[in-house]
Structure formats: C-alpha cells, structure tokens
Amino acid sequence: MLSTQNFRFTKVGQYGIYLAFLILCVVLAFSTPRFFTVSNLLIIGTQVSINALLAFGVTFVIITGGIDLSLGSMVAVTGVVAATFAHPDTYPLAVPLLAGIGSGLLFGAFNGLVITKSKVPPFIVTLGTMTIGRGLALIISKGRPVSNLSDTFNFIGGGNVFGIPFPIIILIVAFIVCTVILNKTVLGRYMYAVGGNESAARASGIRVGNVKMWVYTICGILSAMGGILLTARITTGQPNAGAGFELDAIAAAIIGGTSTSGGTGTMTGTLIGALLIGVISNSLDLLNVTSYYQQVVMGVIIIGAVVLDGFGKKD
C-alpha cells in the first residue's frame, strides 16, 4: 500500500524470468542441434561477458534509483587508455590494466560527484558524460584505433584456462564479487535503502551521497573491465567501441527484475537477463534468421520473456 505510490516502472519479478529463460533454451535445443554444444555454450558465455559486466555495474546504480547511460562511452575510453599502455615490450601487464581500471574509476567517480553535488538528474548527467566520454576516447586515440597490443594483454580476451575462455572466468569472478557486495555487505544494504526510500535512508543516518558515489564508481570499474575485455578481444583500442552498450546492459538488468524506480534487483537476475539477450542473439544467427527479421524477433522475444515473467507472479 504505502510508499508504493511512485514506483513508476513496475517491478519485474525475479522468478518467472528463469522459467522464460529455460523455456527458450529448451526450444532452441530442439530447433537446432548446434545450440546445445559445449563449444557453442562457451561462445555464448564469452559473448555475454562484456554485457554482463556492464549490467552488473548498472544494476547497482539502478538499485539506488539512478541510471547510467555513459557505460558504452566508458568502455571506449577505458579500452583506448588500456590499449595505449599495452603495446608489446613497453610496460608490464599490470600497467595497462591499472590504467584502464583507473580511468574507469575516475570516470565513474566523476559521474557520482556531479550527481550528488549538483541536483541534476542522473539521466542528464550520464547522458552528458556519455557524449563527453565519446569525445575523450577520440581525443586520446586521435580518432584512430590503437592497435599492436601485446599477446599477454590479448590473452585476457582470447585466452583459455583449462579450456575455459578467460572472459568467462572474469565474468564468474565478477558475478561472485558483485553478489557479495550487494547481499552481504553494509554498502549493499545501503544501496537497497537509498533506492527503496531515500528519505528513510537519510533519516536513518545513511550518507546517501557516499552510497551514490560508491555505486557510480563501482559501475565505472566494471565498465573498465568490460572495456579491457573488449579491447583484448578485438586486439585494438577502438574509440568508437561500445556505442549502444548501455541500453543492452540496462535491458539485462531490468529483464532480470531490477526496477528502474529503485530498491529492488539481484545479480542473479541480471546475469539471467544478460544470458537471455546473448542466447537470443546467438541463436538467431544459428537459425540463420535474416538480419532484418532478427531485429523484429529479438524485440518480440525480449518483451515476451518479460510478459511471461509477469504471468509467473500474482501481486
């Protein structure tokens, strides 16, 4: 009753989507023998990893009631920065990694700072930094792809450990860390509180501004991880990379049950959301659906999955 009045974008539940995802997988397994093979599943995992990292980051942000549209630009900036330091025989691997992550951290912290200090809505701030970031990536790289990267660096995107692609390993580690932060730490608790009812959080003595700073910074770090992964995967720092990634990441989070009005969401849901998107786009290619129709089918399945999700619950 109380206090639900302004929950605009109604929450999408957390269980139905698992079912929707399962159904989709079963249907696919029957429609093409190529879907349910180890190699294809590993490919899907690898393909999903970047979007999932961004989606984890934006899940934190959305849980506090914010939004981050600058994800894609952060991917470009951090990728270009990392690539700049990743030429063979220049610096040890740690340098490009730290430079990339560091630039993402700064970018995210800047988002957080502007959002908490000014009263500008996150939508506008991050729309602004999305444009700024795109410009920065082009300025840093002088508009040209930064190529000729070291093999050790490229390993991050293309290597295997015991047959498991490295991006999948990063994905799993990030998932565990994010889940712990969200569910097991005070910071995670405060994220839910700030997003669930900012006044109540403030009245409980929570420093709302600090929580927001953290959240956007973490989102920046995760975007940087995505940027590094992308750069290593295509072995180039691409200043125009990541365009539109923000929408996919936000979609994954919302499909997974995070409500844009804040206060709810889980990392598992987001992971499923990202997998759902990844599986659809993989299987549309496998089924050789013509590209124009792919887009139509993609849209229909995403809406359909979330509708199905809604049926699973009562409320």
Binding site: L2, L187, A200
Partner: protein
C-alpha cells in the same frame, strides 16, 4: 537551574518565504515526557526535523548536553543520542523488518569480523530485533519484508527502531496515529520504563487523552510561534485547547438530528478469502454507520472491496435496492460511492498537484466543456470547498505536498465530496488531524448526514465511533461480531465484541 539535556534558542525556519517556525525557544529536562502541541501546520514536525538534522534552520541555536548541535547531520545526531519516530512512516519497503530496525546501525550491531570489510550478519540483527519486538509486545516476524506489513505494523516497527537506539532523547511525532489501544498501552509502558532510566521524550500527538496520561510538561506552538510551556497539572482539556486554537471549543461531537431516509447501500455476505467473511449491513440516507474493531480486523479491506479497489470472492452489493457489480473505483463513483482512504499519501492525493487540481480530480465530468477544462467552474467549486472545509492554504494553487497533514486530509475529503456521492466511506477520517480540525470534520460529517448522505465511518478511536455513529458494526478478525444501535453501544460492549 534545572538539568536541561536540550536547549533551543530562537529557532526560525521558513519555506519559500512562509515562516514555518518563528523564534522558537524550548527546553527539555532529563527524564521528562514533554508534549509538543499545536494545530495542524503549527510547525511541530518542522521543529523536530531540525532537531534531528533533517532540515537546517535559518537561524537559532540548539544545545545538546552542553554542546552545540550546529551543522550535525542525521547520522551524527543519532550517534549522539537523539532518535526520532517520524510522522510520515519512513521505512524501506523492500527490506525486512530487522533490516529496517537496524538500518544505519549495522556497523554497531550486525557486522561480522572478517577479511571482507562490512560483511553483514543478518542473523544477529534478526535475533536482536525479535527481542525488541517482543519487549514491545508485537507479533511480527523480523525477517518478513516491510512492504507486507499493515500501516499499523509499520508504525510499531518504527517505534521499535527508535527505542532500540539507546538514545537519551527520543522524539515521537504522532507515534500512535495508526495503532490501536492495545499497542498504545505497550508504548506507554515503554515510555515509563525509558523515563525511569533518565531518557527524555518529546511527544507529539493530536489525541488529548494521551497527552494528559503521559506527559509531564506541555509546550504549545501556534502558526510557527511559541505560545507557552506549562506543566501538565496546570492544564486541563479545555485550557490546552484554548492555548492551541486560540479559542474555546465547546462540545466535541456535535448533536445530530438527521432524519434517516431510504436504504442507500446494502451488502450481503461479503467475503474475501483470508480477509473477511459473511459481512452484511445496510446504510440509509442520513445515517452514519460506524465500523469498529481492532487493528487488522478487516475494516479497511471491506471498504476497499465495496469501493472496487480489491476484488471480493463472494457477496452482493445493492445500491438503492439494485444489485451492482463494482470492479473499479470508477464504477463505485458512478454508483454514488465515495471513499476517503486511511492511506491518504498512497491513495488520497497527488502530491505535486495543486489543491485545486486535487480537489476537482474526481469530478472533472462537471468541470469540462467538451474535452476542455472549465476553469471557472473548477475555481468556484474549489473556493467553495476551501471555505466549507476551512482548508488552510496559501491559495488554491499551493501544492498539496506542502500542506500540513490535517489539511491534506481535508483536500481528500473535498475531492470525494465534489464527486457528489450518495454514500461516503470515511476510513480513519481524523487520523493525524488536530482538535480544531477534528471538530470541523465532525460538523461536516453531521452536515452531510443532514443533507441526506449515507455515511460509513471507520475509526480506531472509540469515542469518535460512539460520538458520531447511529449504528455500530463491530468486527473481529474479519468477522462481524455485533451490530449495535447508538443507544445500546458502550465502550465496554464494543471492546468485548472486538476481541472475540
């Protein structure tokens, strides 16, 4: 010189030019219960929000235990030992009861030591919360999500939260507005306990009897100004009201002399699984039917079902003898049923819209020419309502979110009245409303009845039920346990039927 734990000097605060507090001075003794009284909009909550650090004053100083409380934020004040039960229930719906109780204090109570910084220990919090809730005598599981609780239960959790802070000063801003007598007794027991331990309480309420039962000292504010501080013994009911309102109010419940007319509403065997069953009663034109019961008895659920907000599982509703199917509020309004919800924030008004736009929202049919709004008729009706209900506002374009609670309530009543219903359901119509306004609302209800309106009044305040109703339906755990006439009803009889 008495031992003041808190001293406030010449505090002022205005909102966009309007003075909400004007040079307030205030002293709080150690171990006293100090009531803060005043009409709706007098500035009580604003004052308290400044004390706790949620609002910053324009001028003035606050001294707590000899130290200036200047520039503190809420976190600091809470740590220094001031806690507050807020008037508007401030909870995080998606978190559990225990998580809400310890929100902001996890570091002290529920953090495991380990190599991950800030790792939570929810089982410790749950255990501790269970203890506190038990002390308060409330039966709520600490690990259920807050959003599943009723408003009353939420208020109990807020009380638990404030009390468990081990504060030296506890501010209680209308802590009993949503709870019933049983819980109030538990709260008072706690307050006495705390007092004996030297804790000071600032207590705000519009329920006069509570004030005289619990408080040692009473300070009165009026229109943001300090009127005076007296010890509770020096005052009686009437002199306190006079201080607050600036005039005497005679008899609280105006005499009714409405003639009971035709049957307007008849419900038969209403039932909704797990909420209520076998509810049957009739309401006639000019009649006031009271629905009495304890918290959670199902009164609101019945009202919601009749108004079409919830589906019911069985039963029949007749309006003026004709069976109607009501599946939406729109249908209810079309059938002449109006509803003033107990949840005025959730279901009552649109906070960002003006008084005028709120008041006319349910009656736009009468205020339109084609698809366009007829501003003239809208303004005329609004002006009429502001005058009739004595809504205290700076103008019909003031946003409802900036009105005081009582005036928000009047806006909602005004909206329902303009929809010109035959039957109006008033759910806790005087919740959080000051004495003066209460009296006006009672007069208004009487007036409506005299003009032939059928009225269902739900209230947790027995005197109100007894003073206003022509007939009283008593509910207990979703069942109808008695239907009493005005003559036979007594406080004891109602209570006896409410607990069976």
């Amino acid at each position: 010189m008495p031992d003041f734990i808190l001293t406030v000097n010449q505090l002022s605060k205005s909102f966009s030019g309007i003075k909400a507090l004007d040079n307030i001075s205030f002293n709080l003794r150690r171990g006293e219960v100090h009531a803060l009284m005043g009409e709706n909009g007098a500035g009580k909550s604003t004052f308290m929000k400044i004390l706790i650090g949620l609002l910053t004053p324009d001028s003035g100083e606050i001294v707590f235990e000899g130290k200036n409380l200047h520039d503190s934020n809420v976190g600091d004040t809470l740590k220094k030992g001031i806690s507050m039960i807020h008037q508007e229930i401030l909870i995080v719906p998606e978190l559990t009861v225990a998580q809400n109780i310890f929100l902001g204090r996890e570091k002290a109570f529920g953090v495991k030591r380990g190599w991950i910084p800030g790792l939570l220990d929810d089982s410790a919090i749950n255990e501790k919360s269970a203890q506190i809730l038990q002390q308060l005598g409330v039966d709520i599981s600490p690990d259920i999500k807050m959003k599943h609780l009723s408003v009353a239960q939420m208020q109990m959790v807020e009380i638990a939260k404030a009390i468990s802070n081990e504060a030296k000063v506890i501010i209680m801003d209308e802590p009993t507005s949503a709870i019933s007598d049983k819980e109030v007794e538990m709260l008072f027991k706690m307050i006495r306990d705390l007092k004996s331990k030297g804790v000071s309480i600032i207590y705000i309420s519009h329920k006069m009897d509570e004030i005289f039962r619990i408080s040692d000292t009473i300070t009165v504010l009026r229109d943001g100004k300090y009127i005076g501080t007296k010890s509770a013994e020096e005052l009686d009911h009437n002199s306190l009201i006079a201080m607050m309102v600036g005039r005497e109010i005679g008899q609280m419940f105006p005499e009714g002399n409405a003639s009971i007319g035709e049957e307007v509403l008849s419900v038969e065997n209403l039932g909704k699984k797990g909420k209520f069953a076998n509810i049957s009663f009739k309401v006639h034109a000019g009649e006031i039917v009271g629905l009495a019961g304890l918290m959670g008895a199902g009164r609101t659920e019945i009202a919601r079902a009749i108004f079409g907000l919830d589906k019911m599982d069985e039963g029949m509703i007749r309006i003026s003898g004709e069976t109607v199917q009501i599946d939406s509020p729109l249908k209810a309004l079309k059938n002449g049923i109006g509803y003033v919800s107990e949840d005025r924030k959730g279901l009552g008004f649109i906070p960002r819209m003006s008084v005028k736009n709120n008041v006319t929202l349910s009656s736009m049919k009468r205020h339109q020419k084609g698809i366009f709004i007829n501003t003239k008729s809208e303004e005329a009706d609004t002006a009429q309502m502001i005058a009739d209900l004595r809504i205290k506002t700076s103008g019909m374009d003031q946003k409802v979110s900036t009105l005081s609670g009582g005036n928000q309530q009047k806006v909602v009543i005004g909206k329902v009245l303009l929809a010109a219903p035959q039957l109006i359901i008033l759910d806790e119509p005087t919740r959080g409303v000051d004495v003066g306004a209460k009296f006006e609302i009672y007069k208004l209800i009487r007036n409506l009845a005299e003009n032939g309106m059928a009225i269902i009044m739900i209230s947790s305040e027995l005197p109100e039920i007894l003073g206003m109703s022509d007939r009283i339906v008593v509910l207990s755990k979703g069942r109808q346990t008695a239907t009493l006439s005005r003559q036979e009803a007594t406080q004891e009889l109602i209570m006896r039927n409410a607990v069976v």
